[in-house]
């Protein structure tokens, strides 16, 4: 086991840029090692400043926190990209001299860790000496091998100096609309390796004297499809960083540099204590066992990949055991995860652990005082070679979220079991939706410019049900707590795609005593484009959320696209058009409003690569719902009736799921007969009894299927991949099913290519590279 161990500080011949006279690496090593040894950040068993002068302590925090939030709100107005300006896909964070987060703004706060890792990488690889770190410098990073989530998250890091000494770092990140990957859009999926994943910048010095360098700008603008957005996004980041630098200078002027430096350590220890307190207040010690899956259906003809070894159907497997310890710290162990793959859904440990804080700030630690202290109260185990911690430097990451959000849904469900048992029902969330589809594409837009799109309507999916109320409809995404679907009119300005409708999507929230929040759907018609392509990205053959305590998972996704529609002719002739709802995909209606000869694709293939879309073609962007809570037969009659009248529940499923008996009047208003419905529900309980099998009996049959190896190839490949990486998972599997000690399924016997399984090369094997490891591997 490769545990994060003590780190050495290295050496430098240059004069120290720190007040304490140390090199950056020695400074970080001392802080890190002392934290590990003492269990307190930087060895701070006492918070002297907070204790002796709590008013000053809180004033500093308030000023810095307000500063980073204000910088975000102000700077985002510079951006032209609706992803940043409308959706708020940006974040600013202040770090201490060791690259540990002091405080962060709202927004995509996953980057608390990713930008911190970038700073740590510069520290550990002696950027101090070459290319040097000076006042007025800027560094740019989007390298996923260092810690970034995916290449489209571009970070600009600025060191903050006082009297010529480094006192802090500030980082700003925006999600850019295109990175020049093999396919257009920020999270494209045709590429299968880093080398097609878009422009990659490794902590590069890109500015001096507060100005971006000309060679950098000339180079990078031509490496992406959307230079206009790129330039304004960079100015957004620089402006925000500099606003925060000004605030830090003001604080130092107010309290003195010594107090400021003391604060930047104490606040992190305070954050560590905050998480411990919150775990103690809200959770229950013990083990929470959970798991998540999501589909990678690459065998389909509409998925084009450059490498034959990538043309396989696979399944992401993410088992997790969360152990809440008696001392109210916790350990998250992902033993058994499947291997990384030849697709763009791989993550790295920092994306994984930092991303978990995006989720946890919405549940366990909903506080503005989130910083790296939480990390010091947590242990993560991400086995090397899995998709959470690839052991090969070729991996692609453009849509790491496909796996990340899927795996985190199970974590939210797990902690919610603790909340429920403890009586904090208001905190329960059955899980998160899989926030997709990602509607992407590119070509020439309505301005006759080379363009790329990635619709962030997915920032407003349905949330999971609570234990005392339904989930929220079209409200949020796990990766951005401030979800917003954006205005149609703004999207139409940014994309050559007209809205033919935008509506709540019926039956998308998982059923239950409390149902999951509904997703929504928008039907887009390609308009005024040229040489235009689009593709789909989401889950279709599988759910990644499950429902909790008897609630159902939400609906899976599906794909609808239509070509050669004749819509322009129909518009000219005043004929009916496909508008708004795709009510029930099993009884399609859009097709009734297309000209004969239209080519329609309706299926579960929710991952595709670039397909040609002509003007007048249709694309359904279906955004998912959230999972349900509790037995659906416990849902109140009033709520069933409301679902019918709100048109979020198809009649057929009101009958099948809730046993509803109802009438519908001439105005279309439903009335549910309570007595008749309850009588039907009694019968349904008996029907459950009739169709159910004792679990131990069922296990005998399932065991035989395993012995006979009866399962689809993708299911067996998933197990084979996890078995190869994890003897403990294999042992548990054999023990549960009482299988022979030599029972095994391997990728070799399945006949699927397994490039990367035996032969791989990690970033740490590159010359002159010192990787930063913060998790057990």
């Amino acid at each position: 086991m490769n545990k994060p161990e003590s780190i050495s500080g290295g050496s430098s011949t240059r004069k120290s840029i720190l007040y304490n006279g140390k090199t950056l690496a020695q400074n970080r090593a001392d802080m890190y090692n002392t934290s590990k040894e003492t269990g307190h950040y930087d060895g701070l068993k006492e918070l002297k400043l907070k204790k002796s002068d709590p008013i000053t302590f809180e004033k500093i925090f308030s000023k810095l926190r307000a500063g980073v939030v204000n910088a975000r709100e102000t700077a985002k107005k510079i951006a032209a990209s609706p992803i940043v300006e409308q959706e708020g896909e940006l974040c600013f964070t202040l770090y201490n001299t060791a690259g540990d987060c002091v405080c962060t703004s709202t927004g995509i706060i996953i980057h608390v860790g990713t930008m911190g890792m970038c700073i740590k990488y510069m520290i550990e690889n002696n950027w101090e000496e070459d290319p040097t770190v000076n006042p007025g410098d800027m560094f740019t990073n989007n390298d996923c091998q260092i810690g970034n989530v995916h290449p489209c998250d571009i970070a600009t890091i600025v060191p903050i100096f006082h009297e010529g000494k480094l006192v802090a770092w500030v980082g700003g990140v925006t999600h850019v609309i295109d990175t020049g990957a093999a396919g257009p859009g920020s999270m494209s999926n045709g590429q299968v390796q880093r080398f097609g994943d878009g422009v990659q910048i490794t902590c590069r010095k890109t500015g001096i004297n507060d100005k971006p360098m000309r060679d950098w700008q000339h180079e990078v603008q031509r490496n992406v499809r959307t230079p206009k957005y790129w330039i304004l996004d960079e100015r957004t980041r620089i402006a925000g960083d500099h606003m925060i630098r000004d605030i830090v200078e003001e604080v130092i002027s107010d309290v003195g540099v010594e107090t400021f430096l003391q604060f930047t350590s104490e606040i992190i220890e305070d954050g560590r204590r905050g998480l411990v307190k919150r775990i103690n207040d809200i959770l229950i010690p013990g083990k929470y066992n959970t798991v998540a899956f999501v589909d990678v259906p690459y065998m389909h003809e509409d998925v084009s990949v450059p490498s034959p070894f990538a043309k396989v159907d696979t399944i992401m497997h993410a088992p997790c055991t969360i152990t809440v310890k008696p001392e109210a710290t916790w350990r998250l162990d992902f033993e058994g995860c499947s291997r990384w793959g030849w697709h763009t859904y791989n993550a790295n440990p920092t994306a994984f652990t930092s991303g978990i804080w995006v989720m946890m700030t919405q549940t366990v630690v909903p506080t503005e005082r989130i910083n790296d202290g939480s990390l010091f109260a947590s242990e993560f185990r991400l086995p090397k070679g899995t998709w959470t911690n690839p052991n090969d430097r070729r991996t692609a990451h453009a849509d790491a979220w496909h796996f990340l959000v899927s795996s985190w849904s199970s974590l939210w469900r797990a902690v919610s079991r603790g909340y429920f048992s403890r009586g904090y029902l208001e905190e329960v969330n059955a899980g998160n939706s899989n926030p997709c589809n990602w509607m992407q594409g590119g070509g020439f837009n309505q301005e006759e410019e080379i363009h790329a799109v990635n619709s962030f309507e997915t920032a407003a999916c349905g949330t999971g049900a609570c234990a005392m109320k339904d989930g929220l409809n079209h409200a949020a995404a796990i990766w951005n707590p401030e979800g917003d679907m954006g205005d149609c009119e703004i999207w139409e300005l940014a994309e050559p795609l007209l809205y033919m409708g935008r509506a709540i999507k019926s039956n998308t929230g998982g059923y239950g005593k409390y149902r999951g929040g509904m997703g929504f759907e928008t039907l887009r018609m390609v308009h005024n484009s040229a040489d235009w392509c689009m593709f789909f990205m989401g889950n279709g053959y599988m759910n990644s959320d499950w429902g909790l305590h008897g609630g159902y998972p939400s609906a899976t996704g599906y794909r609808f696209e239509a070509h050669n529609t004749g819509l322009h002719k129909r518009i000219a002739e005043g004929k009916s058009l496909p508008m708004g709802h795709d009510w029930n995909p099993d009884e399609p209606d859009y097709e009734n409003h297309l000209e004969p000869g239209a080519e329609v694709k309706r299926d579960s293939q929710c991952i595709t690569t670039e397909a040609i879309f002509e003007n007048g073609d249709l694309y359904l962007n279906y955004l998912r719902g959230g999972p349900g809570f509790g037995d659906p037969l416990d849902r109140t009659i009033e709520n069933i009736e409301k679902d019918l009248n709100d048109v979020v529940l198809l009649e057929e499923y009101a009958v099948k799921i809730y046993g509803a008996k109802f009438t519908k009047n001439k105005e279309g208003y439903y009335t549910v007969d309570a007595d008749a419905t309850r009588a039907r529900q009694k019968e349904m309980r008996k029907e459950r009894h009739s169709r159910g099998t004792p679990v131990k009996e069922w296990m005998k049959g399932e065991r035989q299927k395993i012995l006979d190896k009866k399962a689809s190839k993708q299911v067996q490949q998933m197990y084979a991949s996890s078995f190869e990486l994890s003897q403990p998972f294999l042992d548990k599997f054999r023990a549960f099913w009482t299988l022979p000690s030599d029972w095994l399924v391997t990728e070799k016997e399945l006949g699927v290519p397994a490039f990367g399984a035996k032969h791989h090369m990690d970033l740490s094997q590159m010359p002159d590279v010192k990787t930063v490891v913060l998790v057990e591997e």
Binding site: I284, N289, F293, S421, Y424, P585, D631, Y653, V695
Partner: protein, 170 residues
Amino acid sequence: MSTTYTKKQVAELVDGVLDWETVRRMLFMPKDPDRFAMYIDVLQERQTWDDKIILPLGPHLYIVEDKNGDIVNKCDCGFVFGPYTENWKLNALIYVRDSVEKFNEVYPKLMSPDAEWQVYREYYCPIEECGVMHDVEAPTPWYPVIHDFEPDIAEFYKWVGLEAPKGIAA
């Protein structure tokens, strides 16, 4: 604003009828440490059996101390799912949705999983008149039945200042 709530408010929370203003306060104020004891009281009063609730596991499922001092998993209806240290699911009924037809009872065909990739496993109470669905799993075929939660009750009772029952392994 108070972070202490009345038993009536906790009962209304359990019933899903608590006013939103109070729910909001519960969400953004520090947690009320006496919630657990009050919650157990509310749930205990609603049971038809006398066993003492030690920890709720779901809306209809509890870890209880029975009259012999044994700690077991128990349904609202009185069915006992075995010792609390074991996975209650192993003593439940299961129904697996593993075909287009079975999935279509729950979702339109295009909005449900493909059984070649994933199945739904519904766990019911085995008592015919009860038949409550305690959980739905959505794994791949072959997946071991998941033991969702193994609470450390002895330690938890220390956290909330209560005495753990004798049958709990320390």
